[in-house]
Amino acid sequence: MTTNILEMLSITKTFPGVKALQNVTLAVGRGEVHAICGENGAGKSTLMKVLSGVYPFGTYEGDIVFENETMEFRDIRDSEAKGIVIIHQELALSPFLSIAENIFLNNEIKGAFGLIDWNKTNIEASKLLARVGLRENPTTKVRELGVGKQQLVEIAKALSKRVKLLILDEPTAALNDEDSDHLLDLILSLKGQNITSIIISHKLNEIKKISDTVTVIRDGKAIETIAKQDVTEERIIKDMVGRDLEHRYPDHTPHIGEEILRVENWTAYHPQDPTRIMVDNVNLNVKRGEIVGIAGLMGAGRTEFAMSLFGRSYGTRISGQVYKHGVEIKTRTVSEAIDNGLAYATEDRKFYGLNLIEDIKRNISMASLKKLERGGLVDDNKEYEVADGYRKSMNIKAPSVLSKVGKLSGGNQQKVVLSKWIYSDPDVLILDEPTRGIDVGAKYEIYTIINRLAAAGKGVIVISSELPELLGICDRIYAIAEGRITGELPIAEATPETLIKYMTMEKERA
């Protein structure tokens, strides 16, 4: 007998080509709040997916021991049956159903003839809502609730499944302070009801506040587990970033010239919730030949900034000024932004960047068809020649430029995206997570391309959540948190520790 409710022993999870988890051991004591920290991509979510059966038994190595029994979960239903419930960052509620309907979704309370007993459903739902401290009518539609309340509905739903171990993946990421505080209090009160929680979070002060134990994961390995009395922010940060920055980045000798682009007082609000500020008075600039990084956690406003700047593709109530070579320019539509020498390669290649059913050639020409137009028609042959040139110079591995982009690997798709924007001949390129989902070899190639662009006199802005990447390739780094620029560091002064400090800097609390 141990006092641990859960032990994950030597878990190793391999995806083709990537070791996502290596020999991770995690012990969670009964009735504690256990925090898991790590950078984006460290392996936290993968570990939780192994635990909850999203990756079924047999697809990983190692053992899961829950309540002193070895578990072999085939899917989420298996783990939920044992009382392990995971609440994902993106909430899994159906907006047009009521609170009660959502709580008992796929777990309906049935009465006579197998029909749903609505009275009992609503009464039970009310009891659960009281437990999570949510004063709402159970028949209210979920879409009428704010994110914070929706989170509480998720927890009520977990309680309805007689949860013993509750896993929360970045539960406060989308919440305001008041809702965050309420949620954290709730987690503590559940602890009093003997419900164990695992909380994945980036917010160090939050972790310090509620957790009994902290485990830090980095590069798919558990670095250490720290007991409450020994937890300090410095120690967690050191564990999170302490990796070597060997020769994963090509050499880059900057030749930085005059300022190309300057953005002043850039502000944008959430498109659905115009009171919520997403990009808060951002000021930044890029010089000729310079690679500028924007470091921020997911949801910090990095993509929101870039997309609102690039033809107002995100947000409402956008304000601020953009200057190119000191002259104010407008970027009200994407084509205006492109005409003014901006390019933006999106974070999500497949959904926002590429036409997967078309060939390489047509994807590369998509943003610059005007250049290929002759007498109203697109010059096919010239288009082929241009695309084939990029296939060679960017080393896009495909039999020909007539290959469909959907069949290429992530790295080669990214090279197509970059080719497309390079062909549009911009002065400033904004690259959002340019190496996400790409293997190490292709990453090196992408970094080389970025260096080449800078050497050619372009300004490059790289948005990334991987600090080593930014530290490895940038000349200057801005940190962004809660939509604000919280720090600006020349590369000589930038360290992972200082950056994380700025990236997790929260607004002054009243």
Binding site: N40, G43, N355, R362, S365, L369, L377, V378, K397, S403
Partner: protein
């Protein structure tokens, strides 16, 4: 953490695999096979023609019937051109039959009731088609209401307006020039001969133009170092197509000559083939249908493209309405009934993808011809309208099923 959880890269699948040692014969063969695969729809048309030629004891390809095939299906083919463009962009238009009826009725008012000159009536009618298209395009592109809803509403609105304009009566007996667009032939320009020399001459010019254009394209590609098909297959295909054109022209020439509808169609196919295949506007349509977000973030003005697509569809629906009215010499309340379904079927049979981004003018035309041959062949055989409907439905289902299967096999999305 998406870094580790997104599908890991599969560099091996992407290849870098250039063709291994090339054996001339096998590459030639594989080229022919892949060409046949791409032109599956064309082969389907040939099969359908052969089957009905046999089943109708040779009536199908008699000169008069060949001529009929074109004239009877002209308006569906005109609609199919606009429809495939709308479908490629990821939309649909259910209103074209009603719009055709409405414009037909309005043209009756212009040409018959008001006695305007035939050409003015036609121009005004086409303009009204453009206005109708702009109306629907406004709701779809700028307000953001799904095309399915807007054009479903349009289907009711314009059918209703057609009845209002007609006022419970048919409008009939159009001027002869007007009637020509549905019924006319370029006949006996060189006197009354057994084989019309004009038709054969036009066919000869068409063949020469085709050959010259094909060779120029091939030369152009070669000069840019692109792969081209084997010379044998290239010549073989040209010969085959030329023979088909000649036989088709001969059939027309021994009947009444070139139908005016065919001239209209030929012009439309040439123009719109160019638009979809080679113009910037066409590229934008494919880009929008393939990935709307990517198109937007590439600076394509997606709303404007959508708007003009529907304006275009409105004009083509109006034209189809004119051709149909001219053919019947009557603008009636039932005109255009079910046209939308035939046009949509034509586009899908012709290989357009339900999800958008894929489809060609030539495919839609061939799809329309397949439907036309089915209609015509079954009518000749005396098969009732009820079975005709069922068979056409089945063909549509099978065509799309084949398309879906094909895509899954080739590992598309």
């Amino acid at each position: 953490m998406s870094n580790l959880e997104t599908k890991p890269s599969d560099d091996t699948a992407a290849g870098g695999r250039v063709n291994p040692v090339e054996n001339k014969f096998t590459t030639a063969l594989s080229h022919v096979l892949s060409d046949l695969g791409k032109n599956g729809i064309f082969i389907a048309l040939v099969l359908v023609v052969v089957v009905f030629q046999v089943l109708t004891n040779g009536v199908l390809l008699r000169p008069q019937n060949v001529s009929n095939l074109i004239v009877q299906n002209g308006y569906i083919l005109i609609l199919a051109i606009g429809m495939v463009m709308v479908i490629v962009a990821g939309h649909i238009d259910l209103s074209v039959g009603s719009v055709a009826a409405f414009v037909g009725a309005v043209s009756g008012v212009f040409a018959v009731n008001m006695g305007l000159p035939w050409w003015l009536s036609i121009i005004l009618s086409l303009l009204i088609g453009a206005v109708v298209g702009a109306w629907q395009g406004f709701w779809i592109a700028y307000v953001g209401i799904p095309a399915f809803i807007v054009t479903l509403a349009g289907m009711l609105i314009f059918r209703g307006l057609a009845l209002v304009v007609l006022g419970n009566a048919n409008i009939g007996s159009f001027p002869e020039e007007y009637r020509a667009i549905g019924n006319g032939f370029l006949t006996n320009v060189f006197g009354d001969l057994n084989v019309d020399p004009l038709t054969m001459g036009v066919a000869a010019i068409a063949i020469v133009a085709l050959i010259v254009q094909s060779i120029r394209t091939r030369r152009g590609r070669q000069s840019y170092g692109q792969a081209v098909e084997p010379i044998g297959w290239f010549i073989g295909k040209l010969v085959l197509v030329s023979v088909v054109i000649l036989l088709f022209a001969y059939a027309l020439a021994t009947f009444k000559g070139i139908p005016v509808t065919l001239i209209i169609l030929a012009v439309l196919i040439l123009i719109y083939g160019m638009v979809m295949g080679r113009s910037v506007f066409g590229r934008h349509i494919y880009a929008i249908g393939g990935n709307l977000h990517a198109a937007e973030l590439s600076g394509i003005k997606t709303r404007n493209v959508t708007f003009w697509l529907f304006v275009n569809m409105g004009v083509l629906a109006a034209l189809a309405g004119l051709v149909f009215t001219a053919r019947l010499n009557l603008a009636g309340p039932k005109a255009g009934d079910g046209f939308e379904l035939e046009a949509i079927s034509a586009a899908f049979i012709g290989g357009a993808a339900v999800t958008g981004g894929v489809g060609t003018i030539s495919g839609a035309i061939i799809g329309g011809l397949i439907i036309g041959v089915l209609n015509n062949g079954m009518s000749i055989m005396g098969i009732g309208i009820e079975w005709q409907q069922a068979v056409k439905g089945l063909v549509l289902l099978l065509a799309v099923a084949f398309d879906v299967y094909n895509k899954r096999r080739s590992g598309g999305r």
